[in-house]
Symmetry: C2
Subunit: 449 residues, 2 copies
């Protein structure tokens, strides 16, 4: 039985596996969202809207065409939480799983990184890994839910209501789901720095990338000091941090005399920090992003397009893709085709991959923007924002998504789906090895896309 | 004297040489445009506007902050024509010249391509080449001017007036200058398919790339049939043709039920063809592009961003950069890192260059768009259009350029300058050789950026 399953899995191309998983997950989620008792007052919800919600939840994006709090019952809300887990845990496990399946090309370090033995086809190792992922995610969610639920008791009459809101807020933040049951995202907590801080922390833990969490765990449990963080972890974490800081600073400065006029500096700072975190893929907001000026909205779009770390719950072109593009630009302008960073050399194949990801993502986003503009007469800024939000699986919105025509809804669904699985799986499917190149430094691979 | 000059030139980095040339050309042009008798009625023109016109003319872009026909005298118009020549011939000569200076890395084919002997430091060869370029351009312009001037006699009272209009139209088209002295670009000839056809032809001859013209000349004068077009010529010409056709088709289809409603099919087709040609870098228009729908304006922006062939009078990322990006995408998705096309293999360094050019161009354009949006409160679509028009040195306009603030005008000037010289010179300055890679196919270089 094991060996047969193992054989079947090995016969599937990694990309097919991921697409298959998400296809099944979306179908299942769609069925869950059409169950009796899911909708309030037996309200009629069009099939396309349930499908949209299913795709949005499985891809942990958070763009919605209907208000969750107005449409769904508590049962329905629990279903959405389940789907968010399916999406969040799914991509983390699958991303790593696929990494193992194509393990022939992966070096010793990476296999150490994901803590399984040298036989990368060992299914029990994979199962152990996936259980590890689920454990870590559930632990983070549980701690977040507990903190928020206890804190929320001051706002809600019953503990069960506070618990529901606490659990949902924690799950939505950790999986970077971006959904809300307040009916207005995090706007009610715009002055509550405690709730915001917890949420920011949960979003970051989800978006920073699973390998980073694993290495952090290894580092903390390693007493003899011999542990070395991988190039991937260094690169993605530093890029993540820079993006977070630059985003915060830019929002703060660009809205200083606009949206933040008359707002205290600390509130403006929290507004900036929270929205900057959300572009990494969180998707929750503490204010209406339509109230920002257009240059700020463009910056947010750019940040969402970049997205989160690979092997995380986030989307976009991913931090490492950006990092390699920028590093390549710097090195190439100095007459050097080889990127050396942190005493390591970036593999040529990863430079190629970053190129392909960026070109593909840009073409896809532009084609989507132009097509949606042709189908629906919306403001260019709003369309750019919604498209980058979908591709980056951020889920922040300028509010036009519910008004989109059905073909445009399908384009947004496709973007959420590809933003979630497409470029990763695409990259694992493509990209031959580069046997001919010779290198001076020890080589080390990083994940891209 | 020769040897001293030769030594000095060799000491300059190619990029410095190009920047130096354009700095001198702009300074000179600025002085020409401040000469007494240049302006009508001694009208006061702000210094910044003269500088803008100088930069726009030297970079043969054609964006203007003042109406040429309303501000300049015949003497001033002749000055502008001179400056257009300075810009158009300058970049063609310099682009090729620099190619020779870095000739150590250039193979036999390329040197044959530019028809000089094997000693690439031979200055008399360079001078001969530049004279060749000037001859070819002047010949094309003269033929165009003659045809147009004779035809224009039916519209103007005196022959000298018809001649002025004919010569200016021919120079503006061939150098892809995009300037007009009609006061309304080519709108008066919206129904005149003869003038449009001549103009389209002149624009294409200027934008197709000088090496292509040289090879075509070689091909036509070669009787024994042994001539083979270079990879560069094949790649750039085919890309140019595809862009022209796709642009025409998209404008036609996207405006079919919009701007072209009630317009005859042949007029709609000419509108589409003419505007598509103009995005390659011509810059002249037969209609107000503001009357197009936003999706079409986005397509035009994208086409302008791509621009014309390298070593031509056009700007943008250039046809070959796009071609290599797309070819790399296709080959890489098939698991092949090496691009094989027309029985040749694209050199790895050119793939790297195309990557750097695209990333740099995209970053620069986005930063410009965001900054101009912050400085001036203009419509996003119009800013995107104006920025891509400047970078692609197309010069088509949605009309906001004259209203821009001084800092924004400087950004547009910088874009025109970089679009003209920046990425070419940048690429010749940077980019080490890639000695380590081994290839199976005979290698052949193409120009990028
Ligand atoms: K999200
Ligand atoms: K032009």
């Amino acid at each position: 039985m094991w060996s047969k399953f193992k054989f079947r899995i090995r016969m599937l191309k990694p990309a097919q596996l991921i697409v298959l998983y998400y296809f099944i997950a979306i179908s299942l989620s769609f069925i869950l969202l059409r169950l009796p008792g899911v909708h309030q007052n037996e309200e009629y919800i069009p099939v396309i809207d349930s499908l949209f919600t299913a795709v949005s939840a499985v891809s942990v994006t958070g763009l919605t065409v209907i208000s969750i709090s107005e449409v769904y019952t508590t049962f329905g809300i629990v279903m959405i939480m389940l789907i968010l887990q399916l999406g969040g845990i799914g991509i983390m496990s699958l991303g790593t799983f696929v990494w193992l399946l194509v393990g022939k090309k992966i070096g010793l370090r990476e296999r150490q990184l994901i803590m399984i033995d040298h036989n990368q086809y060992n299914l029990s190792g994979v199962v152990k890994l996936i259980i590890d992922i689920i454990k870590i995610l559930l632990l983070i969610e549980a701690v977040g839910a507990l903190l928020l639920a206890v804190y929320f008791t001051q706002f809600y009459e019953t503990f069960s209501e506070a618990l529901l809101h606490g659990v949902f807020a924690s799950v939505s933040a950790t999986t970077n789901g971006g959904f809300d049951i307040t009916g207005q995202s995090m706007l009610p907590y715009a002055d509550d720095y405690f709730v915001q801080s917890i949420t920011i922390l949960l979003i970051i833990l989800g978006a920073i990338g699973f390998p980073v969490l694993i290495e952090l765990k290894q580092f903390l449990s390693n007493k003899d000091g011999a542990f070395r963080f991988s190039l991937f972890t260094k690169l993605t974490t530093i890029t993540f941090g820079i993006l977070l800081a630059v985003g915060t600073l830019m929002i703060f400065l660009m809205e200083f005399n606009n949206r933040f006029e008359g707002v205290s500096w600390h509130k403006a700072l929290f507004y900036s920090l929270f929205q900057s975190t959300s572009t990494r893929s969180g998707g929750l907001v503490t204010l209406d992003v339509s109230s920002f000026t257009e240059p700020t909205q463009l910056v947010l779009s750019l940040l969402m397009f970049i997205g989160a770390s690979p092997s995380s719950v986030g989307g976009g072109i991913r931090t490492t893709t950006l990092a390699i593009a920028v590093l390549f630009l710097i090195h190439f302008s100095k007459g050097n085709n080889q990127i050396q960073v942190f005493g390591r050399e970036i593999h040529l194949i990863d430079v190629f991959r970053s190129y392909v990801v960026i070109i593909l993502a840009a073409l896809m986003s532009m084609a989507s923007i132009i097509t949606i503009m042709m189908l629906d007469s919306h403001d260019l800024m709003a369309v750019v924002f919604e498209v980058t939000s979908a591709f980056g699986t951020s889920g922040m919105s300028m509010g036009i998504t519910p008004e989109l025509s059905t073909p445009s809804k399908f384009i947004i669904m496709m973007l959420m789906f590809i933003g979630r699985v497409g470029l990763i799986s695409f990259l694992f499917m493509i990209g031959g090895n580069n046997k001919k190149a010779k290198y001076h430094y020890p080589k080390e691979r990083v994940i891209i896309g």
